[in-house]
Amino acid sequence: MATALTLPGPGAARGLGSRAWLALYVPGAALLALCFGYPLLNLLGLSLATPGLGNYVQLWDSPVFGTVLLRTFTTSAVVCTVCLVLGYPYAYAMTVVSPRLRDLLLVIVLVPLWTSLMVRTFSWLVLLQDNGIVNAGLTGIGVGPLPLIRNSTGVTIGMAQVMLPFAVLPMYAIMQKIDRRLLQAAASCGARPTAAFLRIYVPLSLPGVLVGLSLVFVLSLGFFITPQMLGSPSNALLSQLIYTQITQLGDGGTGAAMGFVLLLTTLLVLAAMVGLRRVAARSAR
């Protein structure tokens, strides 16, 4: 009791002593060590088990792996572009409408995050199939039917819908903080609205764009379910290649090596994002 009474600092429960609280790390640390750290290190060992980085050299030489890696990059880049083109105006709109409308737009963008990925991908399958409602509509206006599924088109449409929230939310978080009086100031100094927007608003919103797009890019690189269901083996992405390698060919070493190339790429993209943010922050000052 006396110790509690004499505690002036933050966190009255410090009476237990900082060391006692450290014990609370144990269950979580054990879970992550056993089911995250250990299996990944183990897998790294497996990928390196062949002499002289054999698995990685073999990937480097493999034309199939090169093609799939390139395709994964291209698809991710296209998804990013779609998310930028659709997400930027959407996030911007959220900052200029009334609070009630803004909440509605926020809920709409959160809905996909909260609904089952399986359900949404299944729905795209129904919509985009050769005799689906989208193709019926396209035929009606004389454009279709187009092959929208089992190819990159279907994968891109499905993935962009899944990824858009990850682009919109960071953009909105930054845009919300931009002082719109800066635009008025620019206007009163004689700038046209377009010029003010491009030269003041866009640079200020850039950090949010950077975070959003790198998130989308990284998530797209490792995406599995949507490409597997809406794509085809002939336009497989990296995670599908890994899946085949493990489940059908039983080649753990190569599959693991592919997985670590994916991880390394992911880390490089994130590092580039952090670096770009620093540069942007410095130039803004």
Binding site: M1, A4, L5, P10, G11, A12, A13, R14, G15, S18, W21, L22, L24, Y25, P27, G28, L31, L32, C35, F36, P39, L40, N42, L43, L86, Y90, A93, V96, I108, V109, L110, V111, P112, S116, L117, M118, V119, F122, S123, V126, L127, Q129, G132, Q161, P165, F166, L169, P170, G222, F224, I225, Q228, S239, Y243, T247, A256, G259, F260, T266, L267
Partner: protein, 262 residues
């Protein structure tokens, strides 16, 4: 003014693109024929009947619920403990610990899936409910840490100090003051851990056996092999169930829910 209208029209279209496709599964589930056609030719409840009577679908639903519930317990307990420990302890290198804690969100799930696949084969956990719970908890725990940390950050520490000042011991302060204050964060984290597990496919595809197959895995396997509107019926049930959970979660801890994604 024109620009503003164009912007709003664009938002309506984007909003429709985000929301409407998800609802497509609903009519297909009531289809009268064995086809994924819109609008369905005739109506029936046969796919719902199949969902609730066919052994395969029923077992998968039960597996999913059991695994998600157990995952919620493991992830919520470990996550809440970790968040409290992060809040109360200071030590050199804490930043590294935080980074490691959240690294499951960065590592591609497929990489973790094959890592666990080989580990569980050796530990004889492959294809077991226990193995799936552990795997799903790795994904769920950081989410709980995040929501609980958010509500710990929002609390007014003076309330705890006041309780201590009035003579409450450390345990009493924790049980009667801190825990109720962070309850919304714990609850929101639990809801997300449940949903994350209930919807998880990649880890589950590698780690389930035919006996422990979960609902998303069955849907995933079924969709690539057969045209069975039971998938649509299952989708609709999942959609309704998860929406209800989210609504309950929003009621009880709105901030926690938003903090997860931003």
């Amino acid at each position: 003014m024109i620009a503003r209208r164009l912007l709003l029209a664009g938002c309506v279209l984007i909003g429709a693109w985000l929301v409407v496709p998800t609802l497509v599964a609903v009519p297909v589930g009531f289809s009268g024929t064995r086809a994924f056609v819109l609008p369905p030719q005739g109506w029936s409840l046969q796919w719902y009947e199949n969902l609730f009577t066919d052994r395969r679908w029923w077992d998968a639903t039960r597996n999913s619920l059991v695994i998600a519930l157990l995952t919620t317990v493991v992830a919520t307990v470990t996550g809440t403990f970790t968040a409290l420990a992060l809040d109360r302890s200071e030590f050199p290198g804490k930043g590294v610990v935080v980074a490691l804690l959240f690294s499951p969100a960065i590592v591609p799930v497929i990489l973790l899936a094959i890592g666990l696949f080989y580990l569980f084969l050796r530990l004889r956990l492959a294809g077991t409910i226990g193995g799936l719970v552990l795997a799903h908890s790795v994904i769920g725990m950081p989410i709980v840490v995040r929501t609980v940390t958010a509500s710990l950050g929002e609390r007014d520490r003076r309330i705890e100090q006041a309780a201590a000042g009035l003579g409450a011991g450390p345990v009493a302060v924790f049980r009667d003051v801190t825990l109720p204050l962070v309850a919304p964060g714990v609850f929101a984290g639990a809801v997300f851990a449940f949903l994350g597990s209930f919807d998880e496919v990649v880890l589950s595809v590698f780690l389930t056996s035919p006996q422990t197959q979960t609902l998303p895995v069955l849907m995933f396997n079924a969709v690539t092999r057969e045209v069975d509107p039971t998938i649509a019926a299952a989708s609709t049930v999942v959609l309704v169930f998860t929406t209800l959970l989210i609504l309950i979660g929003m009621r009880l801890g709105r901030k926690g829910l938003v903090s997860r994604v931003i």
